[in-house]
Amino acid sequence: MKLSGIQRQWWMGIMLCLGILVLFPLEFYGKIFERGIGNYLKWQNSARPQLGRVWDKDRQTILAQTKVQSIRSLLDSRQESAEAIDSLKALFENTEPSFPLVLSREKFLDLYYDFPGQWSVRIISPFELISIDSKYNWTRVLLKRFGQWFTISFLDSHNIPVHEVFVATDALKEVQATRTVKQGSLEEVGFEKDRVYSVAVFLPLLQSLDPKTQHAVFPDPRWFLAKDYSITRIGVRELEPSNKTVSSLEFGIEYNTDYYTGVLLIPVSREIANNLLSQIERTNFDIWGEEFSAITVPSVGGNP
């Protein structure tokens, strides 16, 4: 039996009223509307975006912590780089105008006394260091580069510089400053075999030289002894023309450590080198014997 249009509307009206009558107490007593929506939203909560004040705060906290971390990383890496510097000269070379370097007192003194020669002492006298020490409690060193000058600031615990030393950038070009250390044997770092001599030949000659020449061609023996380095051989070579120091010869002092072989490279001014070689020739020809004859004495200089 088919219902007429009016009957159908009538039935729908009744159903709607019944529905409302049923829903009303369910909503009034059971809060089904709120519960239904609430649970539906809870179910799809994770699919929704993290919007609003509470999440903004969360994001800002994350951003802030990310920034804190990035600053920390930068500072740590700078600190590590500073700690990894292995020579006083490298310390100056690594100081860029916009990035001052901060070093602990211990590290600075290590580098200062570790330099294989008199250059560090010429920059700051050890007596000056003792004098600063007697007056102030310095804990760190700040190295800044400004134009043609380096400033070494000795800082107290409040970062106030208690003493400042100025070093011209030209000081890095001094012959004494260019002493470096390389790993490997003499041959491996570029010395030719026919210009390499045994330490037994070289040391007696060294002892016979005047102190100034000794300092120019050899570090304080403490440098080797304190580190437990044993000297094995000495080499001589011409410096490459690209090196802009005034020296033209380079001595290589090979030594053995417990783990590796290293070479201390000492550029020597031609004048001193010639002086040394002349003395070798004059006083120790019998010791050098044939080996010495292999050395090509430089052709320039007034004292061959």
């Binding site: 909560n45 509470v54 705060k57 802030a64 912590q65 804190v68 920390r72 901060v102 106030i160």
Partner: protein
């Protein structure tokens, strides 16, 4: 029916779009690392973003019952929506044709506070309702109430019930009495209007209203209500928001925010160690207030003329650390920072830069003779500039040091014409003055605005004998674990040779010892010091900038509206009468118990006693003599050798070639 379904679905998609996700734990909303700011003397002067969330067990039921009665009586019965309250609000809003009432439940308020803007519109309201349904479906009533109590605003800067209890009653939230709970419960709805610190009566009326509702809701009995109303509220005195450190603090925060970003400063959990010395800051504020009040009692009464303002900065010379920054006499009254933002004319306190330029560039020295006389300078396209002395009296021939001590305008004007304003500007920049400076002759009389911070920094360079230390405010920043993130390293630059600065320093000592700044000595200040007064036209600004070996301090006094400062006897306030006493009171306290330290005399300096009116070495004919400091190479001749008649009128303004300096004969 179909239409209804479509409308329903459409509405859902409209409202559910951009509906925010809820966090798993409501306690998350109160978790953030607070940034702490410390003074140089170790005081924690500010904590940013600190919250004091407490579990529901630590909140007194006297408060929770009161807040439920006040905000949402059927809180425990509904599921996010209070039908009756909603109907009532709808009726009111339709009747008034605007949104007057929200009918919001506590859950809806929490939803709004956590996720939505405070803008009132229907879409936002429905979204807020949907989220409150989810909150109810996800969390227990206790968790919702706890979260609500911990993040609502109670006025007076207090967020959360624990902080509010401390702010108003200095007690824990768990110890609140019925009356206190009712009073606090009345605040979230109108934190300013019903604030007991601002309007005690109104807040008590609101508390009484809430107590009545509590009785109605059977949360307390009538007797308990009456008992509560007759009990003492134990309201404490409001925390003074007049902390003088606020000027410094806000300045530092703004600087840090611009350098690192706002989120880094507020959410980074940092420890910021500043240069501020709260002890000195307190001295500065007390010194300023006591003198300004004394001055105001003598001033002409009138609209806008009663409230003298002050700007003050004190810098530690050795490092450049800013130890004091007073941006005004009361932070709660005015947050405008006059120490850095209020570029007012420095008047004669700018003259030292002119004198130094003349000595450095044109061979003048403190014994050089200049003629103090009325002058007129031709200005192209304008009427001549005729600077006058403060007293409109002229001394004739006089040595440079005396001219500075007496702050003679005609002499400064002649000097700047001689050296050119460009060179003076260049010199001022070397001293750290950064504000725009006018390239004109009147610059000599301080007609370009500068801040007390700039002046203190510039004078610090004089005290440091030519070393400019950029003023700084933050010593160190650490993260919450104590790892350093930033350290300040001293950066002093020797802009002038010590022997170039010392003669100027000695002249400025003369200003205090017997010049326009002698009030400093008259007030009993005994430390070696140099300085300069500054007073602008019509007494609109008064300055005193000065230094000892340890500190350089700049003080400005004036009205915000640039009105002249005239007292009842028609006398204007000068740098000496308005600013210098504040400087003296402050410096006296700041240096109390410290040794009187003399300025070191650099190599290449000698002292001579000269005749003030001839610039020659003092002799029996001298009527007034003075000690001056000059570079060793400067020759001061005795009077006997002075055989060549000297044309003293060397500053004839109409010519330039004849304006050569005459060093002391």
């Amino acid at each position: 029916m179909l239409l209804g379904v479509f409308v329903g679905l459409g509405s859902y998609f409209l409202f559910s779009r951009d509906l925010p996700q809820l966090p798993n734990d409501l306690r998350k909303i109160n978790l953030s690392l607070a940034t702490e700011i410390y003074s140089a003397d170790g005081e924690r002067i500010k904590v940013l973003g600190q919250r004091y969330p407490v579990p529901l067990e630590d909140i007194s039921p006297n408060f929770t019952n009161a807040i439920i009665a006040a905000e949402d009586a059927s809180f425990y019965r509904h599921k996010g929506l209070d039908h009756r309250a909603l109907m009532r609000a709808l009726y009111m809003n339709i009747r008034e044709r605007k949104i007057l009432q929200g009918g919001s439940t506590i859950t809806q308020q929490l939803s709004k506070n956590l996720f939505f803007s405070f803008e009132r519109n229907w879409v936002r309201k429905v979204k807020e309702l949907l989220i409150s349904f989810q909150l109810e479906a996800t969390f227990s009533k206790e968790k919702i109430l706890e979260a609500y109590c911990n993040q609502i605003y109670f006025g007076s800067g207090a967020y959360g019930v624990e902080e509010a209890s401390q702010t108003y009653f200095r007690k824990r939230a768990r110890d609140l009495t019925i009356l206190q709970g009712a009073l606090l419960a009345g605040l979230p709805n109108s934190p300013n209007y019903a604030n007991p610190f601002k309007n005690y009566e109104r807040s008590m009326r609101r508390a009484e209203h809430i107590l009545i509702r509590m009785v109605k809701e059977h949360l307390i009995s009538s007797e308990e209500k009456n008992e509560a109303l007759s009990s003492s509220l134990e309201l404490i005195r409001p925390r003074e928001d007049d902390n003088p450190s606020r000027y410094f603090l806000n300045y530092v925060l703004a600087k840090l925010e611009s350098k690192y970003g706002k989120e880094f400063v507020h959410f980074g959990g940092l420890k910021v160690f500043t240069t501020l010395d709260t002890r000195l800051q307190g001295f500065a504020q007390r010194s300023a207030l006591s003198h300004l009040e004394a001055l105001e009692s003598k001033m002409v009464n009138g609209v806008g003329k009663k409230y003298l303002q002050v700007g003050m900065v004190s810098i530690e010379n050795q490092s450049g650390a800013v130890r004091v920054m007073l941006g005004g006499r009361s932070y709660s009254n005015s947050q405008f920072n006059r120490a850095v933002s209020n570029n007012r004319l420095p008047g004669s306190s700018f003259k030292p830069f002119v004198y130094l330029t003349a000595m450095e560039q044109n061979g003048f020295n403190p014994a050089s003779i200049v003629k103090d006389e009325p002058v007129a300078f031709e200005i192209q396209g304008s009427s001549p500039w005729e600077p006058k002395n403060f007293s409109d009296k002229y001394a004739g021939d006089i040595i440079l040091k005396k001219a500075m001590m007496r702050s003679l305008n005609s002499v400064s004007a002649k000097l700047i014409q001689e050296v050119t304003p460009e060179k003076v500007i260049k010199a001022a920049r070397q001293f750290g003055v950064t504000s725009p400076l006018g390239n004109n002759l009147s610059l000599a009389l301080g007609t370009s605005g500068v801040s007390p911070l700039e002046m203190a920094s510039a004078y610090s360079t004089i005290a440091n004998l030519g070393i400019y230390n950029e003023p700084y405010f933050v010593e160190r920043i650490e993260d919450f674990k104590g790892n350093p993130l930033y350290e300040n390293f001293y950066h002093g630059v020797q802009n002038y040779a010590p022997k170039s600065i010392y003669p100027l320093l000695n002249m400025m000592q003369g200003v205090i010892d017997g010049g326009t700044g002698r009030i400093v000595r008259q007030m009993g200040f005994k430390h070696p010091a140099g300085g300069k007064t500054g007073t602008t036209n019509n007494f609109k600004d008064s300055w005193f900038d000065g230094f000892t070996k340890d500190f350089s301090t700049s003080v400005w006094v004036g009205y915000d509206n640039n009105e002249p400062m005239i007292d009842r006897h028609a006398h204007g306030l000068t740098g000496a009468s308005a600013a210098a006493p504040i400087w003296t009171l402050y410096m006296e306290k700041a240096l109390q118990g410290k040794n009187q330290v003399k300025f070191p005399i650099p190599e290449g300096i000698k002292f001579e006693k000269v005749d003030v009116f001839t610039g020659t070495l003092a002799d029996s004919q001298s009527t007034e003599t003075m000690n001056i400091a000059v570079k060793e190479e400067t020759v001061i001749l005795p009077r006997a050798i002075e055989t060549i008649p000297v044309e003293l009128d060397l500053f004839e303004p109409s010519t330039t070639s004849g304006l050569t300096n005459v060093p002391s004969p």
